[in-house]
Structures are given as structure tokens and as C-alpha cells.
Symmetry: C2
Subunit: 201 residues, 2 copies
């Protein structure tokens, strides 16, 4: 009986945590991290602001949690594209396209995740996640080099370059999205060319 109650309490806590995180993410989707305050999360989730503080010690922790849960989904999407059964160049192009398409599907949110000035805890999380992207791309570049599809003496270095190129090139267009499909194709070609592989247009 005691065990059951404990499980119930844990479940309820878990559900509340998720609910608060969803409310917080919705605020950031609408107005960037600038719109994220403990009070706004309380209002939109119908909880007392004290409850919000019980789950997240401060706004910085909440912002970092929103960043991490959203970016985790993006990393998973890239990981999936890179993990398919296909030649390395094709998988790399898929991952680049996928990343950019997902960004353009929610341009303001993507901009907030990639570049909005927030605070040092989000910046630290950004460094960690760019490192994760870099490791994923490094593996497929390494494979491509062995398969003779790519030219790169330092796959990790080239991977970091691609990750930086993907993030930075999208910042302007995400603010003013026009003809995203053309830019996505351009980004794909640019990344493949950087690795010494010509895309068959």
C-alpha cells in the first residue's frame, strides 16, 4: 500500500513536471525565451507560481529544460536520418535537409533554440548539443571518407564546420523565411561540396 502511494506521488510529480515543461515550451514557441517567466508558466498551466518554483528552481533552469527537451528531439531526428541504410553522402544530405526543414517548420522557435541570447546555462547546453551533432556527423563523414565518397583528413573537424554552417546560415532566413526549399537545397549542396562530394542535381 505504501509502495502504491509512493508510485502515485511519483507519477503525479512526473505528470506535473511534463505539464509545466509543455506550458513553458509553448511560451517559447510563441515569443522566444524572452516570453518565458515563472509567472507566465504558472498562468498558462493553471498552477500557482510557487508550484512552478517547486519543479524548477529558477527561470534559468526552466529555460535550460525547455532548450534540452526540444533540442533532444532535433538531435534524435538527425540521428535517425544518419542511421538509415544508405550511402554516407545520401544520409548526410538527408540529415542536413531534415534539420533545415524542421527548423523552417517552426522558424521562430528554431531561431530561439539556436541563437536567442538567453543566459549562460542555455549557452552551456548549446555547446554540449553542438558537440553531440558534431559527433554524429563525424561518424558518417568518417564512413564516407573510407567509402571514397568524401575528402576529409579530419572528420571531426569537418563535422564541426558543417554543424556551424548549418546553424549560422539558417539564422537570417529563419527571421525572414522566403523560399526555404531553395535555401535548403543550397545548404545541402554546400555541405556536400565542402566534403568534396558533388551532389547530383
Amino acid at each position: 500500500m505504501a509502495y502504491r502511494e509512493t508510485q502515485q506521488v511519483l507519477d503525479r510529480k512526473q505528470a506535473r513536471h511534463q505539464s509545466l515543461l509543455r506550458s513553458a515550451e509553448a511560451l517559447v514557441r510563441d515569443g522566444g525565451f524572452a516570453a518565458l517567466t515563472m509567472q507566465a508558466v504558472a498562468n498558462s498551466s493553471g498552477m500557482a507560481v510557487g508550484t512552478v518554483y517547486r519543479y524548477f528552481p529558477n527561470k534559468e533552469a526552466l529555460a535550460a529544460a525547455v532548450f534540452q527537451s526540444a533540442t533532444e528531439r532535433e538531435v534524435a531526428a538527425v540521428e535517425e536520418a544518419l542511421g538509415r541504410r544508405a550511402p554516407p553522402a545520401e544520409r548526410l544530405a538527408d540529415a542536413v535537409r531534415n534539420f533545415a526543414e524542421r527548423a523552417f517548420a517552426a522558424p521562430e522557435f528554431a531561431w530561439a533554440l539556436i541563437a536567442e541570447p538567453v543566459d549562460s546555462s542555455v549557452d552551456r547546453a548549446r555547446l554540449r548539443y553542438r558537440q553531440r551533432y558534431t559527433e554524429l556527423f563525424a561518424a558518417v563523414i568518417d564512413e564516407g571518407v573510407r567509402a571514397g565518397q568524401f575528402v576529409s583528413r579530419y572528420p571531426s573537424f569537418a563535422a564541426a564546420a558543417l554543424v556551424g554552417a548549418m546553424a549560422e546560415s539558417l539564422l537570417g532566413p529563419l527571421k525572414h523565411p522566403e523560399q526555404p526549399q531553395l535555401l535548403i537545397a543550397e545548404l545541402e549542396s554546400l555541405c556536400l561540396r565542402a566534403l568534396g562530394h558533388s551532389k547530383l542535381d
Copy 2:
């Protein structure tokens, strides 16, 4: 007479401002922005901490000032390399090499300027400066496209990609600098290839 005194006061203020900024930059060069405090600047410049506050309202303003004056020099170096009389591809390669060589000459400081999590005022300044780099590179890419040296339908987009690639690829190596000349050559090749131009090795 009144005018002269005013000029003297202005000169002294200017000199103090420069002296504080130099002390602050020296602290960041040694220990990153984490080492920058109002007290530490007061100590190393031999001034009272109250004096530091008269010139910089808070640590954030001081960090932003250090970032800006140091980055201004880096932008000027890139601008100079891009402005030489030479074919666009050669100037672009020079600018990339120059940027990377300068970074490896002071790797910890470069890492702090490019990526150390500080606060949102430094992040905002970073966005502005990456935009300036992007405009400089966009002009030479555009010129290179017209001259038939580069392939790019969207020079500004490609320029932002290069700026992102340069910054991100150097982050790991700046933390553990090994054989920087090889990586600099790799970055140069990668950028030229991305623009559809093969470097003559």
C-alpha cells in the same frame, strides 16, 4: 582656459577608460570571462572598485566592452585580408587563414570570444559581429561568383555558412591546439570547396 581644462578632463577620462579596458582584457586573456570581475579589474589597474563602476555600470557592460574591442580588431584583420588586390578566391582563403591563425595565436582568448558562456549582452554582441563577418564574406563571394571562381546562388547565405563553419570548427582545436597549421589548411580547403572552388594544393 575653461576649454583646456575640459579637454584635460576628457583626455584623463579617455585614458582611464582605455586603461581599465586593457586591464579587463588582460584578465579575460588569462582566465576567460569567468576571471572578469569589477574587483579584479580594480586590483590589476590599481584603481578603486568605485572608479571601475564609474566607467562601466556593471560586469556585463565591462564584458561586452572587452568583447567588442577585441572582436573589432579581428573584424578589421578579416576586412584587410578581403580588401587586398587579388582574385576573390585568394582573398577569401587569406581571410580564412588569417582568422584561424590569429585565433591559434591566443587560443584561450579566442575560445572565450567565440564561445564562452557569459551573458546575454555578450551573446547579442556576438550575433552582431557574426553578421558583420557575414557581410564582409558575402561581398567577396558575390564578386567571386561574377568572376566565375565560385558557385553560389545566395552569397549572403553561403557567407553565413562559412562564418559558422570557421567559428565552430575551431572550438575543439582551440581547447587542445595540436598541429594548427594542418587544421588551418583543412579549413581553407573546406571553405573553398564549399564555394565550388578547388584549392591548388
